[in-house]
Symmetry: C2
Subunit: 250 residues, 2 copies
DNA sequence: GTCGTGCGTTGACCTGAATCAACCGGGCCG
DNA sequence: CGGCCCGGTTGATTCAGGTCAACGCACGAC
């Protein structure tokens, strides 16, 4: 809830970063096939690489804050990010979580509409926004891909509005777990048991609930036999049909 | 809340429609300067016009329903539209309202992610999705404009998540009125007193509240002297500073 | 080891908004 | 003209989830 200290300065780019980008070319990038990059041919990828900086960040470091001029766009390579908006009195709404392959900044706005913070250790490919926009003029397939990704984000945003406006706590948590599982599967990661890299507070602020309600609802689903919680940061989806039913308002 | 009867069949395109598109060319279109079309030069506009059908719909007619194959994209020329998602048990979340100049379907998805219904009498410019997508390949500035509009929609969606997840009823209503006023001004329409073309039920389903709570909150703001309600379908923003403060969580 | 700290859970109680119900007024139809 | 229907308002009551408070446990510092 409170402002987090910057674990690492996100804006600075060292020569070492640039070298790293050079050292580890996209060829053996784990997320190439699921990220923006998938539509680029080798020559185009090389073009993109010329404006790319690989950035590593520690957990809790702030990538940027709502309202700042949008200097960079990023592609998440490894780790998890949360995006959030704050009200002046500190109330917080997390508007999204990003995982490997997700793109940060499809909107291409001039200022950031939300703050972004690393949840885990992070590896990003970062692009200066202006240079990226110039590049888009030459690579229409890249622009097309961004539009496609923006469309997917819009669909997800509408689902989230339905969740926040009309679902009960149980339904919210069920929807959340299934969404995480679906996304883990999409990037070929273990989905059951499902890792929960974010804290209960993050889950609460994403679902429009309090920490206590999230905790109680986890307990309730566990007692139901719908899920199991071998550890705090891992859920086993025991009865997935039940979860699906709950998520759709059953 | 219940399924509305189709006031008029939306999918059928008559020769008269096509003629109308021809008769009333874009030159004297009131919304040309604020819609997608603003980026097109006359030759490009002519290209777009070849795939355009002007459609008129009655209030309450369904444009399409969530899950259907997305056959068309539309540009709202006149009137108001609501977009919504339903849960199987009938709970409804309105995800957006569209007014003249707004574009329906920036996401370019293959199936509609929500249902759309006319609130008032409606005039639309409608484009077959597939032909539009082909055209985008030739008109990169049009595609760029769509990406820009998608970005704006994403920002609005994130604001709405903050509203639904974290604001009180008063704050929601204040935010809603200011949003409508801002948009009315942006298209050069009267913003004070502000017309409310949608019903209390629509407002409730947009704000994640019940009809009763919306009504009570209107009354409360009226008794406060923050707004006045000369008619049910019109609000006067008496104390706009107070509204702004409320909307930001004051 | 033990102390402190941060995160999560649980319990008791409270409250903002939902629910249930009555009512009001305008428009439409017979 | 009267009756009815529909949208909106208002009142009484309920309840899901919030708030406040205690506690447990893992982990790191020393």
């Amino acid at each position: 809830m409170s402002t987090s200290p910057r674990g690492q300065e996100a804006a600075r780019t060292t020569t070492a970063d640039r070298l790293r980008a050079f050292e580890s070319p996209c060829d053996d990038c784990a997320i190439r096939e699921t990220s923006v990059c998938e539509v680029l041919d080798p020559a185009q990828l090389a073009r993109l690489r010329t404006i790319t900086t690989v950035v590593r960040l520690d957990p809790h470091s702030t990538l940027f804050q709502e309202g700042e001029a949008a200097e960079h766009l990023s592609n998440v390579v490894e780790g998890a990010v949360k995006l959030y908006k704050l009200l002046p009195d500190g109330r917080r709404q997390i508007t999204g979580f990003l995982f490997p392959g997700d793109f940060l900044g499809v909107a291409l706005n001039k200022t950031y509409a939300y703050s972004a913070e690393a949840i885990t250790k992070l590896r990003l490919c970062r692009f200066p926004r202006q240079r990226m926009e110039n590049l888009l003029k030459e690579l229409p397939n890249l622009e097309h891909r961004l539009l496609e990704m923006a469309g997917n984000e819009l669909v997800a945003a509408q689902d989230q509005m339905l969740l926040l406006g009309r679902k009960t706590a149980r339904e919210r948590l069920a929807s959340f777990l299934l969404m995480l599982a679906r996304r883990a599967r999409a990037r070929g990661q273990p989905e059951n048991p499902l890792p929960l890299p974010m804290s209960r507070a993050d889950i609460a602020d994403y679902l429009g609930l309090t920490i206590e309600t999230v905790s109680r609802t986890f307990t309730q689903l566990r007692k139901d036999g719908t899920i199991a919680l071998p550890e705090q940061t891992r859920v086993e989806l025991v009865n997935r049909a039940k979860l699906e039913e709950l998520a759709e308002g059953g």
